[in-house]
């Protein structure tokens, strides 16, 4: 988990090779409350950094998930279709949303490590 990088939109990305796994931070899931639905993107979709690619819906709100990097969606976490509450239980691991084959790893420059993000989230 120490390899996670975080965005100011409270998303995390973990890169292995040229594929990044993306989810929302534990802080974000706490803020959202009980997650009841995740609208996942289609595998094969090309996305640009900043595109809305998914929606997470909790009992309190519905929020967009933005692509933290450009690339192609290679996999989505089907587990969330049946058990969206996995996002609450395990936001930064089993509750991942989708994977992107990175077009430009340089886009991750400026993202925060766990320590910097913890400070950011604290506000």
């Amino acid at each position: 988990m120490s390899d996670h990088l975080y965005s100011e939109d409270h998303e995390w990305i973990n890169v292995e090779g040229d594929v990044g796994t993306i989810g929302i931070s534990n802080f974000a899931q706490e803020q959202l409350g009980d997650v009841v639905f995740v609208d996942l993107p289609q595998v094969g979709t090309a996305v640009s950094k900043g595109d809305e690619v998914a929606v997470v819906e909790s009992v309190k709100a519905a929020s967009e998930i933005y692509a933290p990097v450009s690339g192609e969606i290679t996999e989505v976490n089907e587990v969330l279709n049946e058990t969206p509450e996995t996002v609450n239980a395990d936001a930064e691991n089993g509750g991942w949303f989708f994977k992107i084959k990175l077009a430009d790893p340089g886009e991750m420059d400026g993202m925060m490590d766990a320590e910097a993000y913890a400070a950011f989230a604290k506000g």
Partner: protein, 440 residues
């Protein structure tokens, strides 16, 4: 609701309160050329009796459907609505309540809507229905937009035998969306770019068809089949759209519980499959249990809606035709399942009797061999002229197809006629003999 009169003193108080010196200041954003610079030219106030006389004189110019033989349909159908329906919907608990903004406090309203949804799902053969929409045409427009969202595709195929009001509602509502809409008949081959195929059953000419093969063709390429039903009573006799493979069913529900009302308010029914429920527009009531395990009703899946999702909502429509839906539910409950089927059969039998009588009139050809309570005649003369001459004989003889398709010269001699349980044998005989006179 109280009527609050507004005097000059109230007006200047209100203006002072918000810091303007004249009412015109409120309209600064409207270009000067679009503003009215003088008061409306209206007559001075009149006494109650004078108003009653004037309005009665206006009303007397109408020819109510029930005042004589009437065979007009084409999307709006006259049916008998039991007096009990009107009595019940006028109970103040129902009549005065608008869509509640703290919905769970209005358990009665929510229960009605839940039962309404259940009835709509049953008669359309679908998994889930919303709490209603404005009318069949706007529901159809919503269905097209929903199909595009659900499939993430932009190409729409719409049958040209869809009622033109439905077609135009779709085109209007989607004009700023990046959709490619083909209005065609016969339906073309579709492919993996196609979001949906929209057909009406019975179609605008009254023709019924089995849509099963079309549904299969849609599903083979991942497109949705959208079925519009202009006459809800047909669902009591015809195989349901759900059984034929529809993915979205929209329907004009006016025929049950609601009068013709000069064309509105009407009642849009909207139903779909479970897997598309989150893409469905409109409100949705659900049944649940409270903390003590007692049954209760809630508005559910609200995150699709405008008050939460703002511009990303599934629809701009976050309300429903509550009172019309209530009338529908009460009427359908009074009919029951058997009664609904019998009403549908009665409609079909009456239309069949009408067809038999008209078929023998010289100059009349009946074009449909498979219909519910409406069909199209090909006449030996211009249909619009024939209808005018029938009106002179106090018979409302249907809708000339040219009214709906003014650009289609090939339809100038087509006349769309409907019969319901409200038409008597005497009506039918009068229509047939008047038509014979007019055509000879």
């Amino acid at each position: 609701m109280r009527y609050l009169p507004l005097g000059d003193a109230d007006r200047s108080d209100m203006m002072a309160q918000i810091g303007i010196s004249s009412i015109d200041d409120l309209f600064e954003g409207v270009p000067q050329s679009a503003r009215l610079t003088k008061p409306l030219d209206l007559p001075a106030g009149q006494g109650e009796l004078a108003v009653e006389r004037a309005i009665s004189a206006l009303a007397a110019k109408n020819r109510p459907m029930g005042a004589g033989p009437s065979f007009i349909g084409a999307g709006a159908y006259r049916h008998h609505v039991p007096a009990s329906v009107d009595h019940l919907i006028q109970r103040s608990e129902f009549l005065t309540a608008y869509t509640p903004y703290q919905p769970e406090i209005s358990q009665g309203t929510l229960q009605v809507l839940f039962e309404f949804q259940t009835q709509v799902a049953l008669i359309t053969g679908m998994d889930v229905a919303n709490a209603s929409m404005y009318d069949g045409a706007t529901a159809c427009a919503e269905a097209v937009m929903m199909a595009s969202r659900a499939t993430r595709r932009k190409h729409i195929v719409m049958s040209s035998n869809l009622h033109p009001h439905y077609r135009d509602s779709v085109l209007t509502a989607s004009q700023f969306l990046d959709l490619e809409i083909d209005v065609v008949e016969p339906l073309p081959e579709i492919d993996k770019e196609t979001a949906c195929v929209v057909v009406q059953n019975p179609d605008v000419f009254g023709r019924l068809r089995d849509l099963t093969a079309l549904g299969e063709a849609c599903h083979e390429v991942g497109a949705l089949l959208v079925v519009a039903v202009p006459e809800v009573v047909s669902l009591g006799a015809v195989k349901s759209p759900g059984e034929m493979g529809a993915d979205i069913v929209v329907c004009e529900g006016q025929g049950i519980g609601n009068g013709l009302n000069y064309g509105g308010p009407y009642l849009g029914l909207f139903a779909t499959r479970d897997k598309y429920v989150r893409q469905m527009p409109g409100r949705l009531c659900g049944e649940t249990v409270d903390a003590d395990g007692r049954r209760g009703y809630v508005l559910t899946l609200s995150a699709r809606e405008q008050h939460i999702r703002r511009e990303k909502a599934t629809s701009n429509i976050c309300t429903n035709s509550g009172l019309c839906a209530l009338a529908f539910s009460i009427h359908l409950s009074l009919l029951g399942e058997d009664g609904f089927k019998r009403l549908a059969m009665l409609n079909h039998q009456t239309a069949s009797r009408l067809a038999d009588k008209l078929a023998v009139v010289p100059g009349v050809e009946i074009l449909e061999d498979s219909y519910f309570n409406e069909f199209t005649l090909k006449l030996s003369r211009n249909a619009a002229e024939v209808v005018d001459e029938l009106v002179a004989r106090d018979i409302l003889g249907g809708v000339p197809a040219s009214r709906l398709f003014p650009d289609r010269e090939d339809l100038a001699d087509h006349l769309i006629v409907a019969a319901t349980e409200t038409n008597t044998d005497e009506d039918i005989a009068a229509f047939a003999s008047a038509l014979q006179e007019v055509l000879s």
